[in-house]
């Protein structure tokens, strides 16, 4: 079981369902991400890893997140 294990989004394989735990970013970028739907507790998936940015399926939208930011988004894996 991974459920208590927190890891950066960049370490999650494509296709796994994850739950957002925390964003380790500055106040402004964190606020902006929360406003776009990245609030703690939300569940989402990585659907593409283009080697650079990640493409995420979150709340019925598709959001591209730069790799350096994705590294600061901490999540738990909750399913396949």
């Amino acid at each position: 079981m991974h459920s208590n294990h927190t890891l950066p989004l960049t370490h999650v394989p494509v296709g796994k369902l994850v739950r957002l735990v925390e964003i380790k970013g500055g106040r402004e970028i964190t606020h902006r991400l929360v406003e776009m739907g990245f609030n703690p507790g939300v569940e989402f998936k990585i659907i593409q890893d283009a080697g650079g940015p990640l493409l995420l399926a979150i709340r019925d939208s598709r959001i591209a997140l730069g790799r350096s930011m994705a590294f600061r988004v901490l999540v738990q894996i909750v399913g396949n």
Binding site: G25, R27, E28, I29, T30, H31, R32, L33, V34, E35, M36, G37, N39, P40, V42, I47, Q48, D49, A50, G51, G52, P53, L55, A57, R59, D60, S61, R62, I63, A64, L65, G66, R67, S68, M69
Partner: protein, 717 residues
């Protein structure tokens, strides 16, 4: 009831706001810059019964928190201008995220009408919405459900607007206790302050807690201190930032609503996701991007060339002939004839020649943008842009640069970090704008008749490569600090662009361009004509003032293989606008003269010639367009070689194919035009404009010399 209404459209980017705006206002709209800001805001009008309605299309935003100029404009309009109604366009297929803005709009207490759009997409994904319940949960707000390009009824919407304008909207969001306590402390202070009377006290308190302190810039020092004290203490009880706690809480409210309002069946894997499996794929993404770009340039080129021949023919043939005949008939002095024919007419012809190509370019850019592909291009290019410490979003202004560098410079405003913005704007001039295309076309046809497509594509590619190299160099020297900003970008679902909207975009952009560039060109063609004809009575253009100045520059360009006064002269005039390079050559070589004699056909025949020529050009453009999609197969074999236009012959007398290519490299890379420099000065000041000019003089010189000298060594000269 009032005889006029002021309403606003608010919504997330990609929620379909502009389609609704266009459907409501038709052509009765104008685009202006927001006072003091650089964001474009569209205003339009419509009439229903005897009521005039003014409608403002606010910039698309995800929130009203004013972290970006767009958000600030949207928010200020709602709380300071207090419109009679705000129509909140909501994407039904993406309800949770869209409702975030909706809650913030409702918190402003401006009368609100929610327009649920994209219901067809929601349905396909297996989502059913209970709109009645949604309205209840949002304090009884009016909701109208329509899908912008399907069952849209402008009349029904207009009636609803009138019925809803001015109604009450009193949703009050319940925040958790610690937040409410601070709000309760702030509200009495706000009520006492005269300067804050226009605001709803509770709403302003929430905004202050969200970190939006601009709103109290103008109040008394005493009140400011009180605010600071309360706000400073407010953070103590919170583990996380209070502004984030508020945003987080709004989503909790939304989740509470959507759980009851949306019922989900298992829908199909969406078409967009299936396409994205390829288009955003690690391996296929980049090749798909380059193939797309190649098709774009092929189409532009294939549409341009036939019309270019036709327009050129019309200008140098019948039009010149008519003008000359008319001028002789009214007994105009020689210098007037020369000014009109060689100056103005040649200049106007020079710009109209590439209008079809320009129109096609804008049409294709609109398709890329509206279909949703542009965002994917930014996504796949992010990895490479990172090497220049830029992110994929910087790529969008750069792609726009292919249309015109000037709007591209303004489009960098979407980039947050100032250093990243400046760096992007220094790279944009290397994106080959459509004004450079006529130069490539003329040279391509004159020197590489069978390979002009490849030559042109190689130039676009070279521009991208140079931009990438310069970006890597600059990000490690001039911009050594942190320029990398963070990419967070929505990829909207793929959508079929509507014909009317892409045509409208292409029409507006081309006519804007013709107006701006056209004026410059007519003025400069006239000045150029003067310089070519002074001192008065000069026989040989080389001895004119223009020839003398150009002659003194020529030696600098000699190592690149085009050290003639004609070449350097046309490059100098090209500083004003690159398309002038072509018309300068036309003026220097006096092209029309030889053809006047041949075209003495009589008026009726000449009209017929023009019409037939247009028809032929259209057929040719159509054939070549089809061929783009069947690579390797020749659908329509060339019946005859394209006729040489006068200019090609003249050019071949002073360039070799190698020096012509070196010249094109220079044209690609040197200072784009006066307007781009102006835009850079306006956005970043004199310093950066000067840096940009320096880069775009040194880089092209080095590269064109390399091309020419390298080519000579390889025996290509």
């Amino acid at each position: 009831m009032k005889k006029s209404l002021r309403i606003a459209l608010a919504g997330n980017p990609n929620a379909g706001k502009s389609t609704i705006f266009n459907a409501l206002t038709g052509d009765d709209q104008h685009v202006g810059n927001w006072p003091g800001k650089t964001v474009e805001v569209k205003t339009g009008y419509f009439q229903i019964d005897d009521l005039k309605v003014e409608i403002t299309d606010l910039p698309g935003t995800y929130s009203l928190s004013s972290f970006s100029p767009e958000e600030e404009i949207a928010r200020n309009f709602l709380i300071q201008e207090k419109p009679d109604l705000v129509i909140n366009v909501v994407d039904a297929s993406n309800l949770e995220r869209n409702l975030y803005l909706t809650l913030q709009v409702l918190e402003t207490h401006v009368p609100t009408l929610i327009l649920l759009n994209m219901n067809d997409v929601a349905e396909r994904r297996g989502l059913t919405l209970n709109t009645k319940l949604l309205s209840e949960k949002l304090g009884g707000v009016e909701i109208i459900q329509m899908t912008a390009n399907k069952n849209f009824s402008g009349d029904e919407l207009k009636r609803k607007i009138i019925a809803t304008a001015g109604t009450q909207n009193d949703l009050h969001l319940e925040y958790p206790k610690p937040i409410t306590e601070i709000i309760d402390q702030l509200v009495p202070v706000i009520r006492q302050e005269a300067g804050l009377k226009i605001y709803d006290p509770t709403h302003l308190a929430v905004q202050l807690l969200e970190g939006d302190r601009h709103l109290i810039d103008d109040i008394s020092l005493e009140a400011k201190n009180t605010f600071s004290k309360i706000l400073g203490k407010s953070q103590e009880n919170f583990e996380e930032d209070i502004s984030i706690a508020i945003a987080d809480h709004r989503y909790k409210i939304i989740q509470g609503i959507t759980e009851k309002v949306i019922s989900r069946k298992k829908g199909d894997v969406s078409f967009s996701d299936r396409v994205d499996n390829f288009v955003t794929n690690k391996f296929f993404g980049i090749p798909i991007f380059f193939v797309t770009m190649y098709i774009v340039f092929q189409l532009v080129q294939n549409v341009s060339a036939p019309y270019l021949d036709w327009i050129d023919g019309v200008f140098t043939g019948p039009l010149t002939h008519w003008a000359t005949t008319f001028l002789i008939w009214v007994n105009a002095p020689d210098w007037v004839s020369s000014l009109i024919v060689d100056g103005v007419l040649a200049g106007v012809g020079g710009i109209l020649v590439f209008l079809p190509g320009l129109f096609m370019m804008y049409l294709l850019l609109a398709i890329l943008e509206q279909s949703g592909y542009m965002a994917r291009a930014a996504f796949v290019m992010d990895r490479f842009m990172n090497k220049a410490r830029l992110h994929g979003k910087s790529f969008i202004p750069m792609i726009l640069g292919f249309g015109c560098n000037v709007p591209a410079i303004y489009a960098t405003r979407t980039i947050k970090k100032p250093e990243a913005r400046i760096l992007t704007s220094l790279l944009i001039p290397f994106m080959s704008c459509s004004a450079r295309l006529p130069v490539y076309l003329i040279f391509g046809m004159a020197f590489f008749p069978d390979k002009s497509n490849i030559v042109i594509f190689s130039l676009y590619l070279l521009g991208i490569l140079v931009a990438a190299s310069i970006g890597i160099i600059l990000s490690r020297t001039l911009f050594r600090g942190e320029t990398l900003s963070i990419m967070v970008m929505e990829l909207p679902p793929y959508r079929l662009p509507t014909l009317s909207s892409i045509l409208k975009y292409a029409k507006n952009q081309s006519s804007k361009f013709v107006k701006n560039a056209g004026t410059i060109i007519v003025v400069f063609s006239t000045i150029l004509w003067l310089l070519l004809n002074l001192p008065w009575g000069v026989q040989n253009a080389r001895d004119s003032y223009f020839g003398q100045v150009s002659n003194s520059i020529a030696p600098i360009l000699a190592p690149a293989g085009f050290g003639t006064w004609e070449a350097s002269g046309s490059l100098v005039t090209g500083l004003v606008a690159k398309e002038i390079v072509v018309s300068t050559f036309a003026q220097i070589y006096h092209i029309p003269q030889e053809e006047i004699a041949e075209s003495d056909l009589g008026l009726g025949l000449e009209f017929k010639e023009i019409a037939v020529g247009f028809g032929e050009a259209t057929i040719l453009a159509g054939k070549e367009t089809l061929e783009v999609f069947t690579p390797g197969i020749t659908l329509f074999p060339d019946e005859e070689l394209r006729e040489d236009i006068g200019l090609s012959k003249a050019l071949r007398s002073s360039f070799t194919p190698l020096s012509a290519y070196a010249f094109l490299v220079f044209v690609l890379l040197y200072v784009p035009c006066a307007a781009t420099m102006g835009a850079q000065k306006q956005e970043f000041g004199w310093k950066w404009m000067t840096v940009s000019i320096a880069i775009t003089l040194i880089v092209p010189w080095i590269l064109s010399v390399l091309v020419f000298q390298g080519g000579t060594l390889l025996g290509l000269g």
